[in-house]
């Protein structure tokens, strides 16, 4: 009796969902810290030799890219870091416009010409290799990405961590469960993006594979990005399923299967940029990876969602 009374008096903060706390401390904040540090390292290099630092920062972005809510969505920050997919070829157009200017103001430039995908064009696309303004623009874009990454991290630290920890006491998360649901949605969104977009775009159809639509094919990061994302999502899935060991085990087995398939795929010629989708046997291997990812999603929807008490509404998720 007395204990219940004491508990009732404790501040609500003490009851923040442990899974949300763990996700914030060991997944979300470290991911954005790493993005901020690696972007800064990229920005500190002056000159043209930025390829290695670009790979490191890009990988850090991909590992955080499923966390598309709150700080990344304010002022289009995520778009300023990562404008992809780009079905109308906005990035090369925007880059040509920037290269034609003396000292372009990036803050007012088209968002398609900013971030890690724009940098990839400047680094790897032969159409830009000879441009004398290329390295200056790369340095400016790196600087811009570093500012954006720092702003996202600061927004998490100063504002958004508290909102998620105090879910149910603010207007962004109107009940305690909504913070868990947000992280669960991020897991599903990340898996879906890899399956539908990272793999689905280059796969195209059997009659018409579209290898040139692969993400970051110029730098050969297409498969690496899938692996970086899966690795990060595996962490998040383990945190969210803490407390339901059966579900945790099922999810981890599913992730291991997909990562093993990706590792096997990486030994094939034409895997790094998914050029192999043009051959029947290569295509099959990419399709198997896609099915493995879809299977993780199925386990999450059928087992993790119910365990967390966050069913997905037919209309609530529609978005129209």
């Amino acid at each position: 009796m007395r204990l219940a009374f004491v508990i009732a008096l404790l501040p609500r903060l003490a009851f923040a969902d442990p899974r949300v706390d763990a996700a914030l401390e060991t997944h979300v904040l470290p991911a954005f810290e790493r993005l901020s540090q690696t972007s800064q390292a990229l920005a500190e290099i002056k000159g043209c030799e930025v390829t290695d630092a670009w790979h490191v920062a890009t990988e850090a972005w991909v590992a955080a890219s499923h966390l598309r809510f709150g700080p990344t969505e304010t002022d289009n920050r995520a778009f300023a870091l990562a404008f992809w997919p780009d079905p109308r070829g906005g990035t090369p157009k925007a880059l040509h416009a920037l290269l034609a200017k003396e000292a372009p103001d990036l803050s007012t430039a088209s968002i398609a010409g900013r971030g890690f995908y724009a940098l990839e064009f400047l680094l790897f696309d032969p159409n830009f290799a000879e441009n004398p303004a290329r390295c200056d623009l790369m340095n400016a874009l790196a600087q811009d990405a570093s500012v954006t990454s720092n702003t996202i991290l600061a927004d998490w630290q100063d504002r958004y961590v508290a909102l998620m920890q105090n879910a149910g006491q603010n207007s962004v998360y109107q009940s305690e469960n909504e913070a868990v649901q947000e992280l669960y949605k991020a897991l599903l969104t990340g898996l879906q993006f890899s399956s539908d977009t990272r793999l689905g775009r280059p796969l195209g159809s059997f009659d018409r594979p579209r290898p040139k639509r692969a993400e970051m094919r110029r730098s050969g990061r297409s498969l690496d990005n899938v692996v970086a994302s899966l690795t990060s999502l595996r962490d998040l899935a383990a945190i969210l399923s803490e407390g339901t060991p059966n579900v945790q085990k099922m999810l981890d087995v599913a992730f291991v299967r997909a990562l093993e398939q990706a590792a096997e795929l990486s030994n094939q010629p034409g895997a790094s940029d998914f050029a192999l989708v043009s051959t029947p046997s290569g295509r099959l291997k990419v399709e198997i990876l896609q099915q493995d990812i879809d299977y993780i999603r199925e386990v999450a929807v059928n087992h993790l969602g119910p365990a967390l008490g966050v069913g997905a509404g037919f209309n609530a998720l529609d978005g129209d």
């Binding site: 304010t74 603010n170 962004v172 509404g313 209309n315 609530a316 529609d318 978005g319 129209d320």
Partner: protein
Amino acid sequence: MTSRRAFLTGLLASGLVPSPSWADAGDPSYLSAAKTPEGAYVLVGLDDVGAECFRIPLPDRGHAATAHPHLPHAVAFARRPGRFAVVVDCRNGATLAQLNSPDGRHFYGHGTFDAVGELLFTTENDYKNGVGRIGIWDARQGYLRVGEIASNGIGPHDLRSMPDGTLVVANGGIDTHPETGRQKLNLDTMRPNLSYLNSDGVVLDQIGPIQSHASIRHLAVREDGLVAVGMQWQGDNSNSPALVGLHQRGETLLTFGNGTDLNGYVGSIAFSTSGELVAATSPRNGQLTVFSAKDGAVLQSFAEPDICGVAGLADGFLATTGKGKVLGTGMSPYSLTKSIVAWDNHLVSLVR
């Protein structure tokens, strides 16, 4: 050249022969797309207490539907970015026509007939150019595509016929491309608008929301031409402006309905048949809110999981949920029926 079918349809439309009416279709009052537990998609006719009058299979997930003003024809539209719309005879479920969006176009999920039922208008994406179009189809010629006009914005979603024969279009402002599914490609530059057009595509009036990240998405029109708009906020819920609006052509947009309380998202909007009330649903926080159409005052609000479809009754509304419920609102909400289907976004009132 007039085909036999077109000739007959024309005769029917002109009233020279006794034409079938909605009474022959079991007198439904409402239409809604739905998903069955087996995963099939259907269009369902409901009477005014939520009982099923008919059920017709659809090739894929639907979104909204529109009903012919006097013939028992309903047009069910594919969910964005679908490329089909099906015209069904609601008496027997026969497919009268299948509309396919032309090359380089997909449908957005809404359409409307003109007042006499001769022309059907559909919202479409010219996705190569990233601009909105309104497709025009002739019901008298077996739903032949006879033209198109500019929607005068990006992402036209809902559109309605106005009492004076013009059109009102909700240009949501969001650019998408079927290659990238529903991914939003222009959040940084989006500029939604509400456009009034005549059928030649001339812009008669156009207004934007107060904030450019409020995507104008759904519409309802009262007999006197007052337009209710439901908006969806592209940003943090905590910063959301009011998301329900009322607009009379030539005047400013009156907005109300706390966007944060609506979880930044209005799914459907409707007038009561008396025209005195406006209802907005938000499936994201499972809530239906009834406002006064005079001043936007909140008159009623209740929670119901995954509520989205809403249409007018004389003194209130009929609403549907993704969990199969059909509810009525009056002094307090009351449950009418519970089905095993998931009711999709929109409950469409038959014009009679």
